[in-house]
Amino acid sequence: MIKIVHICLCTLLISVSLNAQRTINRLEAGQYAPDTLISILENTGEYSLSYNPEILTDLPLFTLEYPINSLDQLVSSLKEYPYIDLEINEQSQRIIITKSVLITISGLVIDSLSGESLPEVLVYNSTKVLGFSNLDGFFSITVNTNLDSVSVNLFGYESQTFAIDQIQSKGTIKLVNLNTLENVVITNTNNDSQFEDIIPDDKIRNEHLSKSQGISGNSDVFSYLRMLPGVSVGSEGQNGLSVRGGSPDQNLILLDGIQIYEASHLGGLNSIFITDAIKYVQFYKSAFPSRFGGKLSSVLDVRLKDGNRNTFSRSFSAGIEGIEGHIEGPLGENTSINLNGKLSWFSLIASPLIEDNLDFNNTTLRYSDGYAKFSHWFTPSSRLSFSFYNGEDVIRLSRNAHSAPAFSSFTDVNRIEWGNRLIALNWNVALSDAVFLTSSLGVSNFNYSSRGSYNINYTENDTIKSNSFDILSTSDLRDISLQSTLDYYSEKSGKYSLGTQLIRHINSPSIIESEEFLDPEIINTAAMDSTYKSMEFAIYADNTRYLGKYFTVNGGIRLSYFGGLNNNFFYVLPRASMSYEKNNFRVGASYSRMNQFIHLLVNPGPGLPSDLWVPSTENIEPELSDNIDIEFQYNTGHFSFGINGFYKFYKNVIEYSNDSDIFYSLIIDNERFNVSVNNSNWEERVSIGRGVSYGAEFKLGYSVGKFEWHTSYTLSKSERKFEDFNNGEAFPYKYDRPHNFSSIVGYSFNDNHAIQLNFAYGTGNAFTAATTEIKSIDCTSRPAPSSRNNARVPDFHHLDILYTGQKANEKGGVWSYSIGVYNIYNRLNPFYVYLFQDPETQNFDEFRKISIYPILPKLNIKYSW
């Protein structure tokens, strides 16, 4: 018995002794010099180490992600350190340590069928993320030659894994789109893949856009963005986007790298973008990369497809709004083309109704867009592309009457037109395995004109008299821009970007009023003396680093200059962001400073509205915003949840004490129009103030099998404050939207048929209701607003349903259709409200609202081949 106890005690002692030897002093998470860790390993006495101490000099610090307190954990951690290799012989308890051989490999990732480059492809190995492909599908990674393999993956595509020696420098990796494979159901359950939201916030591919519904059933970029948290769901007839309480002119919208100033069509029906033409959309509400600047609220970077390099593909669609056509294909082995066009046929349907009901006898309501892109590859990693865009919107309502009781003839013309024209030349080339250059040269032109005029001829005392009024406002804005960005992929310190940008702005806002009918040919008043020429220049740099497996940081700076109108402005704009992503969680934070040099004057004065773009001057400093954002995301593949908090502080924001005052101060033909002061300088009619917007954004997503659901909700506040009016007190900004909610529910019956319900809700926009009446100095009475934006229009909401289907025919073509209803319960959302004045009593009786989109059908048929 004693012997047995003795043996047990000895065994226990030996065991404890062994465990004591495999336990090390606790090491906290943090950064350590590699020779420190090697010394700790050596001091345990468990292994004999063989290495040259020189190989440990000048190596980057090793990041310990979590505390460790055992030898096994220490050895495992050291094996993950990419700069040394551990060859462990457990039998002899010997470790040979050698310096890793690192190589930099670059390549291109493209779609196997179309040859289209694939952005944001994840490149990774068994232990960590190595990098992502850029917008041109280019990636550059530094790997240990002793590593077995590298994998690439993009949601919706088949993952691929390569041995290191299989990846050739600047080679091309072709990924297969899972949609093209039979019997494949794409789910978010692949543990090796990126988790992706049903409605991604920022990296949006063409296939995501199909989830959006425009008013008439077409998929549309702006309709998609309005489903995101932080983006206003819009309001009746609203053009543009409002992001986190900002105005539409505060969004930087780029098409193949060149800025577009107005990207909406008639009354917010849809945007200028044709989804079939688009390869990729990047959308930023925060964490703005340093290469972007010049606007305060958001960046929408839209990239067109280069065109299918292997075969021609076409589509043609017709719907309630109009027709759309698309064709892309190869023009030789290394050249491709992408052509798209869209034309509305509103007038065919709307004009007869308007002319019958509103006494107009000549109406035009139309818009059109045309895109063309030519791309040529000198080598797989060197591409030159030429992009062209032309679009316009026209609203014309005119009437002529003769021999009415009160007059002998009457002519009334109302016209609004706007359009963009853009040319872009882009050259993208991999200069080496680690260096990528992107250069773009472009010209964009935005012009806007609105005209309201009438002429009455009448007889008085046998004399024919005439009374005329004509007012024309135009805005012409031309940008000539040049930008170059160099990306360097460092083996030790991540990705560096360095670039410059130069933009020449030419603005020509002007307004002409006349008591005679103006020459109809006058549509461009750029020759008048209201042309402003200015220059914008920026240098920017940033660095993105992957610290260990889970941590990513980005730091950047943008030095920005604006001048040319007897003024010079220079700004230092820092950018910083960090994120920690592990398992299914992601947390992050960012800070960005942005500025804006070109401002939009929106005058809703008498008659038609006018959009005039004007530059910063010595009296009107550029606007600034400081943006802070924190986020938390959780994504299991089936279920996703996200919450963001944001705070934006604005400085030098502009508001006009009297919009009509600005209007008149821009009148060109002063001799014909009376302006009230000797100084018609519009800059002195502007008030400069501050603003703030803050809030919380929530999103929920769930998908299982054939069912998917996505919801976003934003609770926010956006205010402005000016010393010059509203008694210096803060007031709700025009785009303040306390509650903004969007939800889509979709069910796929099978691969070919699906149904979707969309619901959108937003608090009504704030406006100033002058419902107080006071006695004036001359004993008359007049309305007086008690405070700015003291009222709200009724809330905006609608529920839509859309059924989609598709069917292939024997010739390989595919018919697809969508049919549904916009605004199922016929909610009469307000386009605007007005205070109704009884024409007989002159009393103000009540508010009335005007709505323009009641229940509407959605119908679209498309044929692709």
Binding site: S657, N674, F767, K849
Partner: protein, 300 residues
């Protein structure tokens, strides 16, 4: 069936609709409205009323029993105005040129309002008129004006030409809505003038402390206006036209300018446009408290 479908589809489209709606206004409390313009040639007068809802059919409510205190900020003297009814408060004193004044209102119901203004210094202006003939052979009147601007103050000027008419044996003065036809010679001390309705607004930012000279021309259409005819009060006692030149306080200048803008634009009250914001310098209230100095010159 297809035709019926298309017809029904068409009917559901583009049928804009108008209906009544209730709008919640965040604040619509009544406020004190002060109307008081002071000058060296008239006694103190302040009119007090309450604002009312635009939907109300009631007349404006006068503030009958309020404490109206005036403090001369230049010499620190103060006095009270007396109510004479209909919301008017008076005191048989005249403001002094170059002095600043503070007006404090306190009502029986605990409401209060305050404003500050000043009376500009007396104008140094010379006016000479002469008859002339225009290129069409018609009679015109040319008026040469020279203002010597006070370099110490920031000055604002409002000009007006009024016509005196005899209506039912009484002389009625009406402002003229005319286009001031002006030469635009951009030499130092001269600047382009513009008018709005009957008032012409000028600030001294381009000729501060200097002499400013210009010329106005009354065209033949004004002189021989058919509406005037034999009712024009052109006599040795009452001239037919008077040129009024006022030096006004900055507050009054902004008020008159924005008020003229309001009268000219006459925009409907909608959620799309911002209503014209007529300037007010009343703290915790609405209206205007301003000062001016007037010189009047007979023209014909």
């Amino acid at each position: 069936m297809l035709r019926l479908t298309i017809f029904i589809l068409s009917l559901t489209m583009f049928l804009s609709c108008e209906e009544d709606v209730t709008i919640k206004i965040e604040d619509n409390d009544r406020q004190i409205v002060i109307n008081s313009i002071i000058s060296t040639d008239s006694i103190w007068n302040v009119n007090l009323t309450y604002s009312k809802s635009i939907f109300s059919d009631q007349e404006f409510e006068y503030i009958q029993a309020a404490s109206v205190k005036v403090t001369n900020l230049t010499n620190d003297q103060s006095f009270f105005l007396k109510s004479i009814g209909n919301g008017d408060y008076q005191r048989a004193l005249m403001p002094n040129e170059g002095h600043s004044y503070e007006l404090e209102i306190n009502t029986d119901e605990g409401e209060s309002a305050r404003a500050v203004t000043y009376v500009p210094s007396v104008l140094k202006v010379e006016v000479m008129r002469s008859n002339s003939i225009d290129e069409n052979g018609n009679n015109t009147i040319e008026i040469d004006i020279e203002i010597e601007d006070n370099p110490v103050e920031e000055n604002f000027y409002v000009w007006e030409i009024v016509e005196n008419k005899i209506v039912e044996e009484e002389i009625v003065t009406e402002p003229l809505n005319i286009d001031f036809t002006l030469p635009t010679e951009f030499e130092e001390g001269q600047t382009e003038l513009k008018s709005l309705n009957s008032l012409l607004f000028i600030s001294d930012d381009k000729f501060n402390g200097k002499k400013y000279s210009t010329k106005l021309t009354l065209g033949n259409d004004v002189i021989n206006n058919g509406e005037g005819g034999n009712d024009n009060a052109s006599s040795s006692e009452t001239p037919r036209f008077n040129l009024r030149i006022m030096a006004v306080s900055k507050d009054l200048y902004e008020y008159l300018r924005t008020y003229e803008l309001y009268k000219q634009t006459d925009i409907a009250i909608t959620s799309i446009n911002q209503p014209v914001n007529v300037y007010s310098n009343i703290e915790n209230g609405l209206g205007i408290f301003g000062g001016y100095n007037l010189k009047e010159f007979p023209i014909e």
